[in-house]
Symmetry: C2
Subunit: 635 residues, 2 copies
């Protein structure tokens, strides 16, 4: 079949280029004219020339007197001469039009004397001195802006000065966005089990807007070939680029591919990238048609790879290479051979090093995109990067902003979120980026120089004290300051009303009770193991001891959703999810701060917030906190 | 008077800070709620938390079978067991909801056998294996976005996934913009002598929009105190920030200052910056009031210094320090002691060096802002920079774009403008930045390594040949390629209908004929002097020989506006301004290209355009050109 142009074994770049080559002349929108005053960020569709000169009249460039140069011929220091008011000399200020018949301006300070009859000069002058002549700024007919130029505020100013009121610009490329899938629901629809909310359409529309196009979301369409076909043909009538968003279930892209093939051609189906495999590139009625996978992270990444170049192309640009920054990878990044992988990373500057920490790689984890500062690409024929390797990261945030970020790695506490909001509220571009890896993970991060501070709550079973002994053991010789943030109440998080009547730690071992645990290395896990040991309870007797979550909130939601009966955690997390809480004990939660970062301005801002009464009040309102030592430095 | 807080002798930064400190709590707009789908680029007004968890139900993370972990207890390789369809095992695909009662998923490849009765397992499994548990991505109540966060497409996605449909954002700061001045006219109004078109209001509105606010332009108001007062009080009722744009004439700012003082306070009047001196900072009814000078360049620069921080501040940010690039200054930059000066510069990368060339410094030259790639600040107590000094330039265009720019310095020809448009039309981000300094200036720029190529047309009076002998003399030992662009007709540009009947060079010396000349070093000047010499005409006999313009178009507009009767220049420029033209001779206009830049991809693109027939046609259509050798390399 002639139209079948599968390229499964080619690199996607090649397929995209082929597609652009074939469609370049069939799909270009017509230009349109817009009012210059509404033309900000529009792209010129042709060369723009001046309709009039500016200044459009000769004007005095100085405060002084407009005269005729020829009236001064022969004047010298030995032969000064009076020029008469009105007929020979007229007073002008800067910007005043040059009076008719006059052709030059003498400055105030060049006049020897002025009197009732006129001004006394002692030098002859040449014509057009101290005059802004017509066209000094802009000459009628002059090129003001080239084609394919994005119009900025200053460009609008020049166009208006040059008498250009309408400008021919590229019509904004229209991108039709079709969400598909039986399980997809519009935002706002109550969700049943199995339903998935359509966030992709909004994300794509906003991306298209940022790139200079206009996205229009079509109604969600069920997985029925005739409905999909109708929607496709409808989009092709009015839109310049046709985008299908597949649902998240398997094989959905095959439908789309068959339909595109029926009305046009498929250039590429399936790309060796992660996340994002089931991409489709094709054409329908001479217009680019792009199939985007349904997982949110895949949709975001593939839209940037395949849709952005098209929107830019129809505007007369090529997509710019993203800015990159060389960073040190803090842990080994594995990647499977044969797929180009796009790993979301947090980026921070700790000490003198820029470091990148990989985020959750699941294609459905939307928060990984929110938290990401950049994308680390692992090429197709590479198995990843070593810990400590320096690699280029494509930035999603400006590098200046990243430099204002305090990196917090360690145990999770809700007070850190509030601290972060207070820091942002200062309006100084400072922020906290926090990664929740547990207390021991936090200390490890300090050891490797990856964090400015760590939140830790590690009970020493020998002494009953917190934190200090761990620092001495794990960071020997390092000068680490411990600043108390809170004391907090740990206890059993149980369903509302405590239906199973779980009232003490021993109840975890009751038959049929489903527990949900924290990961090894977290302070809460250390506490649990200490308490179990103390009370002689065996781990083997606890159903679910192996089920590990990384934050208090994730444990709490496990209980709240009914997948577990009980978990150990802090009161504020239980309260946040509406759970009942059985207190077991108080623990100390400190911030561990290497002394060398204490003088950092961001850190000083943070410390001053910790001493702020409003902050204390807000932390107390979460429940289960004691702030008696908040901000106190602890030996 | 208590309210009088003039700070004329303080640095403007200090005055701005004082003003912000005093008004911070009186002028903050209330937050507002918006639909998340419309929230792109809005700024969060409070911390945003998740309304629901995502996923909101446990889902299979693999293709396989949902089972209950407890049904597998005791299973081993020696004791495999069948799990029955429906009651004990249900087939699931990735993403499917975990069926009620089931608590784990075994992958296809872990199943020993499957048959009519069910699946055969040889290993026991733990609960919640291969399951995306509720809240894996987002937990209800979790912080999604901090306060003061600009909402990006991916943030909208996370908010929708978390069931957040409305978000509290900062209301866009409303900026009232009041153009004032008797001589100011709205765009589109026919202009009389002395009228000035109001381009500033549009430029400020667009700047405000880019900073995240909403500008509203008030009707142009004449210089009458009661009218200005009324407009001010009206703006103060609905707007958050009040901006006056003064006209361009002297002392206008005094009016504004007196009115602001009457209804509030003036913090600062007059700043030691260039351009932009007569700035006013004050308050009216607790709202920031800013007086912006009327010259377009002053308005642009002072808006960035004084208005941008306010718009950003009301959005919860501080203004970011602009990105700077270290560049080499190509000529000495003079600046007067006592004023901080903002010099617009072109920036380009020629060879391995980033270089900056200062542009016209007039406060009224709007094209200097269009052409500028950056701003070079000269501090108040510094007299400028030396040629060759490396200085930081604040960039107005992204550095990647600047790297794609071919720098052309030399003689002006309209064909260069067309060349530039053809290059931009390729859509590859490549462009030409051209500075018109005449042919000799172009050769000088090549010598100093400031340009990729120069347009030159220098007649050698000895040989009658063009260009080569100048290169040999001025760039000895350098390998410079000459590529012909055009032959063009030089001649006398005279008013339509040639009312003074100027038909030959000798007529320039006729009594009363007002000539307009090109600057020394331009090819046209060399030609003129050669011809005058040949014909034995004395310069002293030509009225206006000293009046110099820098381009053909500026000479033509001098004739067109009636300030001169005749100039020497090219036919296309005469044609562009609707002048009559008396041919005097043909000259050769070449591009001089150092051989080392021939391999540059941008240069290759340029050379291929010169060989393009459509380009030739368009040049021919300008009139007065011959393209017989276009693109030919000349010995």
């Amino acid at each position: 079949m002639e139209r079948q142009i599968y390229l499964e074994n080619k690199a996607w770049q090649e397929a995209l280029e082929l597609m652009m080559g074939r469609l370049a002349y069939t799909c270009f929108p017509e230009n349109e004219k817009v009012d210059v005053r509404k033309a900000l960020n529009r792209v010129t569709g042709e060369t723009v020339r001046a309709n009039r000169s500016s200044p459009h009249y000769p004007a005095s460039a100085m405060d002084g007197y407009a005269i005729r140069a020829k009236d001064t011929f022969g004047i010298s220091e030995r032969e000064p001469r009076w020029l008469k008011w009105e007929s020979e000399a007229i007073q002008v200020d800067t910007g005043d039009p040059l009076p008719a018949d006059m052709d030059t301006v003498v400055m105030l300070e060049e006049v020897l004397e002025q009197g009732e009859q006129g001004i006394l000069l002692q030098n002859s002058v040449v014509p057009w001195d101290n005059v802004r002549s017509v066209g000094e700024d802009i000459v009628e007919g002059e090129v003001l802006l080239p084609v394919n130029h994005r119009i900025r505020p200053q460009d609008q100013g020049a166009l208006i000065a040059a008498g250009v009121l309408e400008v021919t610009v590229r019509r904004k490329p229209r991108v039709g966005i079709l969400p598909t899938g039986d399980e997809i629901r519009s935002p706002g629809t109550p969700l049943e089990v199995g339903d998935i909310v359509d966030s992709n359409s909004t994300v794509l529309t906003s991306l298209v807007e940022e790139w200079g196009g206009v996205g229009t979301i079509w109604p969600i369409t069920a997985d029925r070939p005739e409905k999909l076909e109708n929607a496709l043909l409808e989009m092709a009538e009015s839109q310049d680029i046709l985008v299908f968003i597949a649902g998240s279930s398997q094989g959905r892209d095959d439908y789309t591919s068959r339909i595109i093939d029926k009305y046009g051609a498929v250039y590429l189906h399936g790309v060796a990238i992660k996340p994002g495999k089931p991409v489709i590139l094709g054409e329908v009625h001479g217009k680019p048609a792009i199939g985007i996978p349904g997982y949110p992270v895949s949709a975001f990444i593939t839209a940037q790879l395949f849709l952005e170049p098209w929107v830019k192309y129809l505007l007369g640009f090529i997509k710019k290479t993203p800015l990159t920054l060389d960073v040190v990878v803090t842990k080994k990044v594995f990647s499977s051979l044969g797929s180009e992988e796009f790993v979301r990373v947090k980026v921070g500057k700790v000490g003198e090093r820029w470091i990148a920490t990989p985020l959750n790689r699941g294609a459905g984890v939307t928060m990984s995109l929110v938290r990401a500062d950049g994308i680390l690409r692992v090429p197709r024929l590479q198995e990843g990067y070593h810990e400590g390797e320096t690699v280029p990261v494509e930035l999603l945030r400006p590098v200046e902003e990243l430099g204002e970020t305090l990196v917090c790695i360690g145990s999770h506490d809700l007070a850190i979120d509030i601290l972060s909001s207070y820091l942002k509220a200062r309006g100084k571009n400072e922020s906290i980026a926090s990664a929740h890896v547990g207390s021991l993970g936090g200390i490890l991060a300090l050891r490797k120089g990856e964090a400015h501070f760590a939140g830790i709550h590690l009970l020493d079973p020998e002494t009953g004290d917190y934190n200090r002994s761990y620092l001495e053991r794990l960071l020997p010789g390092r000068d680490i300051v411990l600043m108390n943030l809170v004391y907090r109440t740990q206890g059993l998080m149980v369903a509302k009303g405590n239906p199973l009547n779980l009232t003490k730690l021993e109840d975890l071992a009751r038959s049929g009770i489903r527990f949900i645990n924290r990961q090894g290395g977290s302070g809460t896990r250390v506490l649990l193991d200490y308490l179990l040991n103390q009370k002689g309870i065996s781990k083997e007797d606890i159903l679910g001891y192996e089920r590990e979550e990384f934050t208090h909130l994730n444990v709490a939601v496990g209980v709240a959703s009914g997948s577990a009966d009980v978990g150990l955690g802090i009161q504020s997390a239980a309260q946040s999810l509406g759970l009942d809480f059985v207190p077991i004990g108080e623990e100390r939660y400190d911030l561990a701060i290497p002394a060398e970062y204490l003088e950092d301005l961001k850190m000083q801002a943070l410390i001053s917030i910790v001493h702020n009464d409003a902050f204390k009040e807000e932390v107390l309102s979460l429940g289960g906190y004691d702030v008696r030592d908040m901000g106190k430095f602890i030996r």
